[in-house]
């Protein structure tokens, strides 16, 4: 619209502000929905799903920049539909505003095809199963052709060539082929995992990159996508809170990665990447992961669509939960419980494999390690059955499902029968020496069927931490007072900062006092806390205050302290332990279910089963 002050009578003064042509509008909108080939794959794949496809085939060329072709065997479209397919805000999925509250389809905004059509050369072919002939329509940068009749199979094929050919600015933002392909595959994998009923084939430059048959189960799909080692180690998760149901699998912490590529959250069937859910996983794995690592987990969350808002973001990746706190607590507890059941020891076979390969590739799919996954001895056979939790946010009371039928129980992968009934840490373990200690750090210990290497420091950290926690839960901590306070020099600002938090620190048995403008006196420490020393402790606490601005109480504080101290490497000094001390440490560890990783997530032990040894010596 022209500004009111301009006299239209001046003739040559044209309006500066004008409505944009539709093509430009769509190109701008495309920027929101279509960022890169992976966005195209996602939109087209979801359309295929919404069309009721049972088989989807995705062909990519040059990481999807040159070509994305998605072919489905869904219900197809007639000429009338094709004519509207590229029009903005045209959709078959939403008719009124009220529908927004209970959306069950994956797409509904009606923006995708219009956006894609404005920035690429597109062709849609479609034939409804009932028709004899199909129709095709083309769209080259916004110029849509009339549908014409053509022959072909039932279903819809959408071809998108030369993405961003008419918007060079966007094209420049594309990454290397391998990167774009990786993102496309990530989308395809997530959608493949999300849909049990669906058969998916994908190719890149003619090479097959994924092949999942229709009807394969969740675990089998994970096996196809991420390899057998991960799939075999998965621990099922099953929990319910009202009409919120969580199912799926978590992997032991050793499968954690620096990115979230092995995490999948399906909310009512839709893959979502939501901050809250990522936080749920981090919290569930807290204490078992090294800093900056993301656990592997494949989880389906089913909940009343009215309790979750998915229309927050055009890419529909973010969600908003009503009653977030309760849901959060419920999810975290369910994950923790499943994690405790998982076998956290690093299988020796993996190490042997890695050693054998010159170039260790931590991300690569490793060969099937065979029957290493062993059930936790505390867990009775058949414990894979559904467990149901009633109270979210608190340590859970376990209620076995009364009709523990096969429904819902994840099938155990083949070859996971326990090879060794005495595996794992358990009170029944034969904790007797002699133990060999390597480099004052690694305790080598014979098992009835194999051997185990225990990282004495990592284990000691975990044992200390769990004992302190248990002690704190029972009542006040035992504190060894000091005759002579340990004096730690700090800056004035640090001393003041610490002063505010002295009572909170005292609640965890850390008795500090301010001893002068730049001195902190450590007056007493929990008896069990051998490390870190006073100086280190003060530093750790100051760090914590600086990072978070507060001091958590009791257990949470101790956890933080032990975490950070461990991360600072303060426990590296090799203490020589006597045989009795080793035995006592192992016995104490046997009483602690979490003793498989140290508080900051390094494994405490590595196990070589007899089978591993036999393989290593080529006896098998």
């Amino acid at each position: 619209m022209a500004r009111g002050g301009e006299e239209s009578g001046l003739g040559q003064a044209e309006a500066i502000i004008r409505p944009l042509p539709e093509l430009v509008r769509n190109q701008i909108a495309a920027g929101e929905v279509i960022e890169r080939p992976a966005s195209v794959v996602k939109e087209l794949f979801e359309n295929a799903l919404d069309a009721g496809a049972r088989e989807v085939r995705v062909d990519l060329e040059e990481g999807g920049v040159r070509l994305v072709r998605v072919a489905d065997d869904g219900r197809g479209m007639g000429p009338a539909d094709l004519r509207l397919a590229f029009a903005p805000h045209a959709t078959s999925k939403l008719r009124a505003v009220d529908d927004l509250d209970h959306i069950a389809t994956l797409g509904f905004r009606g923006e995708a095809l219009a956006s894609i059509g404005s920035v690429a050369r597109c062709r849609i072919y479609s034939r409804p199963a009932a028709e004899l002939l199909g129709w095709a329509v083309e769209n080259e940068g916004g110029r849509v052709s009339e549908p014409r009749e053509t022959g072909g199979p039932a279903g819809t094929h959408v071809e998108v060539r030369d993405l961003f050919y008419n918007t060079p600015a966007r094209r420049r933002f594309l990454k290397r082929t391998a990167t774009e392909l990786g993102r496309c595959l990530d989308v395809i994998q997530r959608l493949t995992l999300a849909h049990d009923e669906l058969g998916v084939a994908a190719t890149h430059d003619g090479r097959r990159v994924l092949d999942v048959e229709a009807g394969m189960g969740f675990r089998e799909r994970i096996r196809r996508v991420f390899g057998a080692e991960l799939a075999d180690a998965l621990e099922p998760v099953e929990a319910r809170d009202g009409d919120t149901v969580l199912t799926g699998f978590v992997a032991p912490p050793r499968f954690a990665r620096a990115d979230t590529s092995r995490q999948l959250w399906l909310l009512n069937g839709r893959p979502v990447r939501d901050k809250v859910l990522i936080r749920v996983l981090r919290e569930g794995f807290r204490g078992h992961l090294e800093h900056g690592r993301h656990p592997a987990a494949f989880l389906r969350l089913a909940m009343d669509p009215a309790r979750v808002d998915v229309n927050v973001h055009p890419a529909k990746a973010e969600i908003r939960l009503r009653d977030e706190r309760r849901t959060f607590g419920f999810l975290v507890n369910a994950l923790r419980e499943a994690l405790r059941r998982s076998d956290m020891a690093t299988p020796g076979q993996v190490l042997l494999d890695r050693a054998a390969r010159r170039d260790p590739a931590p991300g690569a799919t490793l060969p099937d390690p065979g029957p290493l996954r062993r059930p936790d001895p505390r867990e009775r056979p058949g414990d894979d059955e559904l467990r149901v939790y009633e109270v979210p946010g608190r340590p859970l009371e376990l209620r076995e499902r009364e009709d523990a039928g096969p429904a819902g129980a994840a099938p155990a992968p083949p070859g996971t029968e326990p090879a060794d009934p005495a595996g794992g840490w358990a009170a029944s373990d034969d904790v007797r020496g002699p133990f060999v200690v390597v480099d004052r750090t690694y305790i080598v210990r014979a098992l009835p069927d194999g051997l185990e290497i225990v990282d004495q420091h990592a284990l000691h950290e975990r044992v200390t931490f769990e004992e302190l926690k248990a002690e704190l839960e029972r009542g006040p901590l035992e504190v060894q007072r000091r005759l002579v306070p340990e004096l730690v020099e700090v800056t004035r600002a640090e001393a003041r900062r610490l002063e505010e938090h002295l009572p909170a620190l005292e609640s965890a048995g850390l008795c500090f006092s301010v001893f002068g403008p730049t001195t902190i006196a450590v007056q007493g420490l929990p008896v069990r806390l051998r490390r870190p020393g006073p100086e280190e402790l003060v530093r750790v606490v100051l760090d914590l205050i600086e990072r978070t601005g507060r001091v958590p109480e009791g257990v949470a504080l101790l956890e933080e302290v032990l975490h950070s101290a461990a991360c600072r490497g303060s426990v590296m000094a090799g203490d020589t332990l006597s045989q009795d001390e080793i035995e006592s440490l192992l016995r104490r560890a046997a009483r602690i279910p979490e003793a498989q990783t140290c508080p900051h997530g390094r494994p405490t032990r590595v196990r070589f089963a007899k089978l591993d040894l036999e393989k290593a010596f080529h006896r098998k």
Partner: protein, 368 residues
């Protein structure tokens, strides 16, 4: 260099030197023993730069004086496993041959100039005392010195001369042991600096005092303490830093005092401690008139109680200690009757374990 030695005497000397020689050192030359043969004596020298020993081997016959530096460990092992009564060392041209009867070995020597210089004991200003007095004081205190953490100055034993007494003090910040014994100063000046000797040095001093009735001499120097016995001179470099003002933490006025048989008390504490945790634990002492109840518990195991008769002056009171700490002191008690004095459950407990022997232990509290 050529020397003939008595094998057993030589073995003793090499063993002493090897207790100093570091197993791994950034300076490889330190893993050697330096053998110095003068007209009538053979000296073995070893050091890790913190402590040093100079050991005079008896019963030797020097044919050709000289110095040779050879690996300490191998030499000791070889000499120990020989069977002859005498051993001959002959060093020439980069090699040293050890011969005994028909057995021999040849070791490659290290350039003697590389070996660090170890000082000689200075008689001036040194004072004389009985070896047994020295070792007794070390036994009563060194165990309380800090090991892993804490102020650097607490990783050793403080030695003072006070009122015609030699006094040793050690603390790790949680307990403190102070023991002293009268000595004859005969005009020797008291040291001007705080003398804090690292625990390893103290052990070596005790190691070379083979006969408790022998007189030994102590020399306080600016940065080291020297001790001379009949055939050894040992030097320990002093720890820098400020030792805590220990006299301030020994309770002066106490409300509760308990007297008991030391052995008996030690047995009861061990008894109860069997049930408490492996690493960290507390044993609670509850005293009433004439009765002491000991109580220990552990979440994983259970609990234990024990009773014994004691002499007690004061109100009914509780105090909890780390049993290891208490037992460490009681083991070294000089007399049968020990005395425990304390004010309340969060202030230090003072054990009097002998005439000149005080041991202070800070309690464990459970009500933060």
């Amino acid at each position: 260099m050529k020397v003939l030695c008595n094998r057993e005497r030589l073995r003793e000397g090499l063993a002493v030197v090897n207790s100093v020689v570091p197993a791994k050192s950034p300076k490889p030359v330190l893993s050697n023993v330096c053998m110095v043969a003068t007209d009538d004596a053979l000296e073995l020298v070893g050091t890790d730069l913190e402590v040093a020993v100079r050991y005079r081997v008896e019963d030797v016959k020097v044919e050709d004086p000289g110095t040779t530096v050879i690996p300490a460990r191998v030499t000791l092992d070889f000499v120990r496993d020989l069977s002859g009564e005498t051993v001959e060392f002959a060093a020439a041209g980069g090699n040293c041959t050890i011969t005994s009867g028909g057995d021999a070995c040849e070791l490659v020597t290290v350039d003697a100039d590389e070996f660090p210089v170890v000082s000689r004991f200075g008689e001036d200003g040194s004072l004389s005392l009985q070896g047994g007095t020295f070792t007794k004081l070390v036994e009563r205190t060194a165990f309380a010195a800090a090991r892993e953490q804490g102020r650097y100055a607490m990783h050793g034993v403080l030695i003072e001369i006070d009122d015609d007494k030699l006094k040793m003090v050690a603390t790790d910040g949680r307990r403190l042991a102070v023991a002293s014994a009268p000595i004859d100063l005969s005009g020797a000046p008291a040291p001007e600096h705080a003398t804090i000797v690292p625990t390893k040095g103290m052990q070596l001093f005790c190691r070379v005092i083979t006969d408790p009735l022998d007189q030994v001499r102590l020399a306080f120097e600016e940065n080291q303490l020297g001790l001379r016995t009949r055939n050894a001179e040992v030097f320990a470099r002093l720890l820098d830093g400020e030792f805590p003002r220990y006299s301030a933490v020994i309770p002066k006025e106490v409300g509760n005092a308990l007297e008991a048989d030391g052995d008996h008390l030690q047995r009861k504490i061990r008894l109860v401690a069997n049930v408490t945790g492996d690493e960290a634990r507390a044993v609670r002492l509850s005293v009433k008139k004439g009765k002491l109840e000991l109580f220990g518990q552990s979440a994983g195991r259970g609990e234990a109680t024990a009773h014994m008769d004691v002499e007690y002056k004061g109100r009914s009171a509780d105090i909890a200690f780390n049993p290891d700490y208490v037992v460490d002191g009681l083991k070294n008690a000089e007399r049968e009757l020990v005395r425990l004095e304390f004010n309340d459950k969060s202030s230090p407990g003072k054990f009097t374990l002998g005439e000149d022997y005080v041991y202070v232990v800070m309690p464990i509290t459970m009500d933060v």
